[in-house]
Amino acid sequence: MLSVRDIYKTYEGAPLLNGLSFDLAQGEIICLLGTSGSGKSTLLRIIAGLEEAESGAVCWDGFDLANTPAHQRGFGLMFQDYALFPHRNVYDNIAFGLRMQKRSEAEIEKNVGERLKSIRMESFAKRPVTELSGGEQQRVALARALAPDPHLLMLDEPLGALDQGLREELTQELRQTLRDSHKPVIYVTHDHQEAFGLADRLLILHDGVIVQDGSPQELFENPANAWVAGFLGLGNLISENDLTKGMLMSKQPEPSDEAVWLLRPFNARMGESQTETPFQFEGDVLDCIYMGERYRTKLRTPRGTILSIETPDLWVLGEKIKVYWSVEDVQCLKN
């Protein structure tokens, strides 16, 4: 299927993609996660053939696409701003790709009709796209990308332009549509919750390379490094300076500036540890937010470290509480 090899690309003199590689299997949905400006969109454009990499290769079934122009690749790309043609109505937007394939009018009409039906917008065919709401535009853009039956579908922050409520609703719908299409999908987002909800596999893009590649569970349980853990919001990242007592763990790697510990909020225990642990803290309650069954509480230790923990009880602001993590609940990560 798709194989991306050693892609290099600079942006305004600085390296943006720095020898990036990954593979994609048939019917697989992968999410490409990264901060904004990390080169996610650029990577999609390179795969689509709309931009050229300085070196590296994009291959499909082992065939190098270097000399295949964008319009002959058959890869669908849905842009972040949807890029609906403002001079065409809903029907003509969806029909565009089919017209480029020189399908017959009857075929186009049938196909577009089905697409409109699947997004429940049959009555919108003749509407100008400029009159659509954000969610409707998103649906039309997706239908337009799927209409010419691409080998591969790429979505660039498809829900990025929508507000929170609509996003959650549409994530559901999108997952269904993507599963039903049986196409390989590359889904780009900076929102890890959206990614966890959609992907078979997650690729984390950082500093121009894929720093981690795995299932959501793998990523959640074993983040490759401190940056990934921080980016995914897995918990408190604590360095040696934040600890009160000296380091004494034998099962942990040598303490150094390079290493940090991941303390997950839900593993925090209240009070004082019975066994010896370096992860014993005392601090003032900064914040205590009701999250449903539990409270998310923020503490500040005398050293100024802010810790986020989950507690069953409500704490008064400014109250002094003790909290610890047992050694087996803590992960040591590379910085």
């Binding site: 454009r45 319009h71 842009f79 890029a83 609906l84 790709g97 480029m100 400029t130 990308a145």
Partner: protein
């Protein structure tokens, strides 16, 4: 309450009365006079000699040359717009400024510039003559259609570059990309997506260029020679050389009808159809040309634009410092080289012939007219924008009333003045007084377009706040409005000043032989033989060009962003 409302209605009426009276007397009255003259039986003897070809021939030529000029302007202007909207190259900013210069140059200056390039005494001919030892100029591009077309392209290319270029650079670049992604080749994507989205601005620019080419007067008169006459030139000929006012009037009406038609079309096409949907959130970045095709495109376009834009003006200035004439008494011995003589002569008063007008007199006249125009147009403009502002929803009907003079040409205005004020017992002195009035009418729409957005931009709360703190209406104007409007007022003053300095059409009707303006004097010197006349015309043109360029540079500097008159 009712008393207050009554008072404000009276105030509004008072504001309206002055500019309206001015327009009625000096714009609508002459216009009506032209109509009355044409449709009256008073000139029945004139009608007997009238042939329809007198109308159709100049109209046909006007349409022909305007169409050709517009097509040529588009052929060069559209790629140039693409160049500026997409590519980064050395000297880009400089070239961009350069391209806007022709637009503000008076027609006489442009005509003189092309004369120094292509005329029998121009650089091209001088060069060829010295190269091949010829005794007479080998090429004659002056007095030809190509000279007219070239000058029109030179003049109007900036309209295409500005209008089409700005919508191209704001166009969402993802749109053609998504088309390619959906299977359209780059060319197909351009044809199906980019071009249709640019069409409204291309259409507006085309109509605008056509309108300017259609009503071109100075360029055709001075570069086309006697065998070519557009409607405007024919009006001038009929009125000034044949004294056939009815035919001139009829031509004016035809001209007016066409310009109004095109103006209406421009207004229609200006309406943004796709709005924000086609626009990118930020204007797209420029890139350096890649690949041999793009590089060749950039190099060729930059070269062509530089040649077109720079050569005429540089040629004008250099030629004005260059003497090329037989020294006195030595026939055949040519005295060539650098000279400041033409500039010195501008300020010397020689009484050589009966028709000779000292240049310094023309300069003095023009300065006086420009000064009066500047004050008159800006004062009227200020009153008018307050009147428009005060009348609320009524302003939709009243605003076009002030904008209409933009559609009527200066020639029509001159003719109307001649009919209204020429028939009565008017001395030449009073005729002179009409020149700044005509100039003010030409400048007024631009002044209003400059002042109105600035005035509308003042938040009403500011005035209310000042009033609540005890400021009288006059005090509010002085303390709130005036400081905020200051920049716009300075821009208006400069606009009016430069327009008056360069105005040729109406001045050629109204100035008498003894009291010319600078452009009229240049025109006269150019059409007379003799190296001194020629040199003086060039020296004056160069000075006028410097003043106009300086004026527009200052205008660009102090103008607030987003206030484009065109």
């Amino acid at each position: 309450m009712t008393r207050m409302m009554k008072r404000s209605i009276w105030q509004t009426l008072l504001l309206w009365s002055l500019p309206l009276a001015f327009l009625l007397v000096f714009f609508y009255q002459p216009l009506v006079a032209i109509f009355r003259l044409v449709f009256s039986t008073q000139f029945s003897q004139g009608w007997k000699l009238f042939r329809w070809s007198q109308i159709t021939k100049p109209l046909g030529f006007t349409l022909y040359q305007a169409t050709l000029s517009t097509i040529l302007t588009l052929i060069l202007g559209l790629p140039a717009a693409y160049l500026f909207a997409r590519f980064q190259f050395a000297g880009r900013k400089f070239l961009r400024v350069l391209i806007t210069i022709p637009f503000i140059l008076p027609t006489v200056v442009v005509a003189a510039a092309f004369n120094t390039l292509l005329g029998s005494r121009g650089w091209l001919n001088l060069g060829l003559m010295s190269l091949f030892n010829l005794s007479s100029p080998p090429i004659n591009m002056l007095n030809s259609l190509s000279a007219i077309l070239l000058a029109h392209v030179f003049y109007n290319i900036s309209i295409v570059i500005r209008m089409v270029g700005s919508s191209l650079s704001r166009l969402n670049q993802n749109l053609p990309l998504v088309a390619q992604n959906l299977g359209a080749s780059p060319w197909r994507a351009f044809k199906e997506v980019t071009l249709p989205l640019l069409m409204p601005s291309i259409l507006s620019a085309t109509l605008m260029v056509f309108l300017f080419d259609f009503s071109s007067f100075g360029v055709v008169l001075m570069l086309g020679g006697p065998q070519f006459s557009t409607l405007e030139v024919e009006i001038y000929n009929q009125a000034m050389n044949r004294f056939n006012l009815p035919v001139a009037g009829l031509l004016s009406i035809v001209q007016l009808a066409f310009t109004l038609l095109v103006s209406v079309l421009i207004n229609r096409s200006n309406q943004p159809r796709y709005g924000k949907a086609a626009m990118a959130s930020e204007s797209s970045g420029l890139r350096v040309a890649k690949g041999s095709w793009e590089k060749a495109f950039v190099i060729i376009m930059v070269t062509v634009l530089l040649l077109l834009m720079v050569t005429p003006t540089v040629s004008l200035v250099t030629r004005s410092f260059f003497t090329f004439e037989a020294a006195r008494g030595e026939r055949g011995e040519l005295n060539t080289g650098f000279t400041l003589r033409y500039y010195r002569e501008l300020f010397e008063n020689r009484e050589q012939s009966l028709f000779y007008v000292p240049p310094i007199l023309a300069i003095r006249n023009s300065m006086i007219y420009a000064g009066i125009t500047m004050l008159l147009a800006t004062t009227l403009g200020l009153i008018s924008v307050y009147a428009i502002q005060k009348s609320g929803s009524l302003s939709r009907f009243l605003e076009p009333l002030f904008m209409l003079p933009l559609g009527a040409s200066a020639i029509t205005l001159g003719l109307g003045f001649l009919i209204v004020f020429g028939s009565s017992v008017l001395t030449q002195g009073r005729f002179q007084a009409l020149i700044p009035i005509a100039h003010s009418l030409v400048a007024l729409p631009l002044v209003i377009r400059t002042l109105l957005p600035a005035l509308r931009g003042i938040p009403a709360n500011l005035r209310l706040a000042a009033t609540s703190m005890g400021a009288s209406p006059l005090c509010v104007f002085r303390e709130v409005d005036l400081p905020i409007l200051f920049r716009a007022i300075v821009v208006s003053l400069l606009f009016a000043f430069t327009i008056s300095l360069g105005e040729f059409g109406a001045s050629s009707f109204l100035s008498n032989t003894a009291m010319p303006t600078i452009p009229v004097a240049i025109f006269r010197y150019l059409s007379q033989p003799g190296a001194l006349n020629y040199g003086q015309a060039l020296a004056m043109s160069s000075l006028l060009m410097v003043v106009c360029v300086a004026g527009s540079v200052i205008i660009e500097r102090i103008r607030l962003p987003g206030e484009e008159v065109f």
